[in-house]
């Protein structure tokens, strides 16, 4: 049994007098213990909403979540609020995008770590402080005992993200959800944080759901990748498979739009035409069709289904053909 089984997860944002907006549309995926799974897509494709729905952190009102999220067999969506609170931080941890705003500005870092330890592991403040030093050490923060007394604004961006990761991992959760953990950091720090995450995941056997729009992050970290578009998974593949042979035109477009060091000087980046529409209608055609270079008439009439393809899954009527000869095509 997988550690996390997400089945048919659907999130509708409903407002009175308006058509409901389906942000996440029947998403299903598994996360095995120790596995790193990527959720990739551009803004508005539903990746963050998926993670918030798994953690049950969406606002109480204004949305409808259906489907199931089984964590070690228990459906998180059906737990009482209290049971869910007990699990958050203990079984499932989360790291957010902006480390400065995700830390409480008026409380020293140390207290924000011990708070979780006291809450879930029943430690006294004293024991928890010792553990906190250990945790900060583990995430590579120098002079941890001094840092404990410092406030978030006194730490650099990278330090803050390290501290956040330490807090999220304080109770050794079995699943960590990282929602764009490197977006707010500069490139060198990004690399450090990714290396840290990879190391921690390997050392502790924590499963990781990596939410990102950055395919570079995916390439360095994920075992399996789910590409989302318009709230649906359009392609799932193992990492190497995805980069070697992207099948969905959207994935292909994402990869083609990344600047490459080995590209010629006058080669231009290839953007994906258009932008994500506000409410993408998957019924009656493929939501990506208006932007798709491979679109066929059938794409605008029949909504494609997610079918097994090349060891992964694919939702496309007219996928990108694998190159005929080895060495050509998309690298």
């Amino acid at each position: 049994m997988a550690l996390l089984e997400v089945r048919d997860l659907t999130v509708d944002f409903v407002r009175r007098g308006e058509r409901p907006f389906t942000a996440v549309d029947g998403v299903s995926f598994d996360v095995e213990p120790g596995q790193t799974v990527g959720l990739v897509g551009e803004s508005g494709c539903g990746k963050s909403v998926t993670s918030l729905a798994i953690m049950r952190l969406l606002a109480r009102r204004g949305n409808k979540v259906s489907g199931s999220v089984r964590f070690e067999g228990t459906d998180l969506l059906r737990l009482s609020d209290k049971d869910m609170r007990d699990r958050r931080g203990r079984d499932l941890g989360m790291v957010f995008q902006d480390p400065l705003s995700s830390l409480n500005p008026v409380i020293p870092i140390g207290l924000q770590i011990t708070e979780v330890l006291e809450r879930h592991r029943g430690m006294s403040r004293k024991v928890a402080s010792v553990e906190a030093v250990d945790l900060l050490n583990k995430v590579g923060i120098p002079d941890p005992s001094r840092r404990l007394t410092e406030y978030p604004h006194q730490l650099s961006g990278g330090m803050r993200q390290r501290a956040l990761i330490a807090i999220a991992l304080a109770c050794r959760p079995r699943l960590l959800i990282a929602d764009e953990p490197t977006t707010a950091l500069d490139v060198t720090i990004q690399a450090q944080i990714l290396a840290l995450l990879r190391e921690l995941v390997q050392d502790t056997g924590t499963a990781l759901i990596m939410i990102t729009h950055d395919l570079g992050v995916v390439a360095g970290l994920c075992d399996e990748v789910n590409v989302l578009y318009g709230g649906k998974i359009v392609e799932r593949a193992q990492r190497h498979q995805l980069f070697a042979q992207p099948r969905h035109p959207y994935t292909h477009g994402l990869l083609a739009s990344i600047p490459r060091l080995d590209a010629g000087r006058h080669e231009k980046l290839i953007p994906i035409r258009g932008s994500v529409a506000d409410n993408i209608p998957w019924d009656g055609g493929c939501a990506f069709a208006p932007r798709c270079p491979n679109a066929l008439p059938v794409c605008r009439e029949v909504s494609p289904r997610l079918v097994p393809d090349n060891g992964g899954l694919l939702r496309c009527h007219n996928p990108v053909r694998p190159p005929v000869a080895a060495g050509g095509g998309i690298r």
Binding site: M55, L57, R85, D86, R87, R88, G89, R90, G93, M94, F96, D98, S101, S102, L103, N104, P105, V106, I107, E115, V116, R119, H120, P142, D143, Y151, H153, Q154, L164, I167, A168
Partner: protein, 309 residues
């Protein structure tokens, strides 16, 4: 490796600390540079000191009718400034300066108590509304709206009039009630902003209990505007307390040295004879209110992140 890093880091951090990098330090530094803040601080500081030590400083007993035989009300004679009585005496022959000083104590007491009570009740209401949201928020805030819709002085007068026997507490309670809706609204607003903040979401994602989220994560981050408003309210509380006393809704005891009562008598009875008896308390009230306003205003400016330089 770690120790190497430390050695490099330490001096930088010390510099940062010396430059006053903490929020409070930064605000203090900016206030010290502002003449408005210093003026406000000096006035308030002086007022507080005078008020606290009034019984020791006052040259004469403020209740003793020293020159009563020299006062001839029928002929409009009230002795003015003279040796031993720098500001003259009032209609009972009591030393005006001593009464002003002791009156300062009264004013401070009323102002501070009224503000503290207002803040406390306001935090309670605003905190409940902001923490629970939903119908609790709606009900409490409609009540607050009703209170806000009545002009403040009218509200205070109505409250004061409810008491059968007016006393100093009448004034304190009436004035504190004026502050309640302002504080409640302010706190509720910033609590609601905190509810949707990233760090509260992050704390929720760690399974922190709701009580801890409200008291440790939301409330401390929401109090800033309330504290600033409290300084400003101190000024209006002093003015309103004086106004209530002026209107005769305060302490009925004529013996009491109270700026509002002194002003009322001076203005209503002796303005042609000895206008100074109205001027002195009036000036005292204005200067003190101004001091608190300047201080509060500059505190607000210093704490405003948009002004950060």
């Amino acid at each position: 490796m770690n120790t190497l890093l430390n050695k490099k880091k330490e001096p930088i951090d010390k510099l940062a600390a010396a430059a006053g990098h903490s929020l409070g330090g930064e605000a203090l530094r900016r206030m010290l540079r502002s003449p408005v803040a210093i003026t406000g601080a000096v006035i308030t500081g002086l007022f507080v000191l005078l008020a606290i030590f009034a019984p020791l400083i006052a040259p004469k007993d403020p209740f003793q009718r020293y020159l009563q035989d020299k006062v001839i009300l029928g002929q409009g004679i009230i002795p003015g400034s003279q040796a031993g009585y720098p500001l003259g005496v009032d209609d009972f022959g009591r030393d005006e300066l001593s009464r002003l000083l002791v009156g300062a104590q009264n004013t401070l007491l009323v102002g501070v108590l009224a503000t503290v009570i207002g803040v406390a009740v306001g935090i309670l209401i605003g905190g409940l509304a902001g923490a629970f949201g939903g119908w609790v928020d709606t009900v409490l805030m409609r009540m607050v709206d009703v209170m806000l819709s009545v002009p403040s002085l009218l509200l205070a007068i109505s409250v004061a009039a409810l008491f059968a026997k007016p006393s100093q507490w009448t004034v304190i309670i009436a004035v504190s009630i004026i502050g309640v809706p302002i504080f409640a609204r302010l706190l509720r607003g910033s609590m609601l902003a905190q509810r949707n903040s990233d760090h509260v979401l992050a704390a929720t994602s760690l399974g922190v209990k709701r009580g801890a989220i409200v008291f440790r994560h939301m409330l401390p981050n929401s109090l800033g505007p309330v504290i600033v408003q409290a300084t400003l309210t101190l000024a209006t509380a002093i003015l309103e307390a004086a106004a209530l006393s002026f209107l005769g809704l305060g302490d009925a005891d004529q013996n009491r040295a109270e700026w509002g009562i002194m002003l009322s008598k001076g203005a209503k009875q002796f303005l042609d004879v000895r206008p100074e008896l109205a001027y002195y308390p009036a000036i005292a009230i204005i200067v003190v209110a101004l001091g608190f306003t300047l201080l509060g205003e500059s505190l607000r400016e210093a704490l405003d992140p948009k002004n950060r330089r």
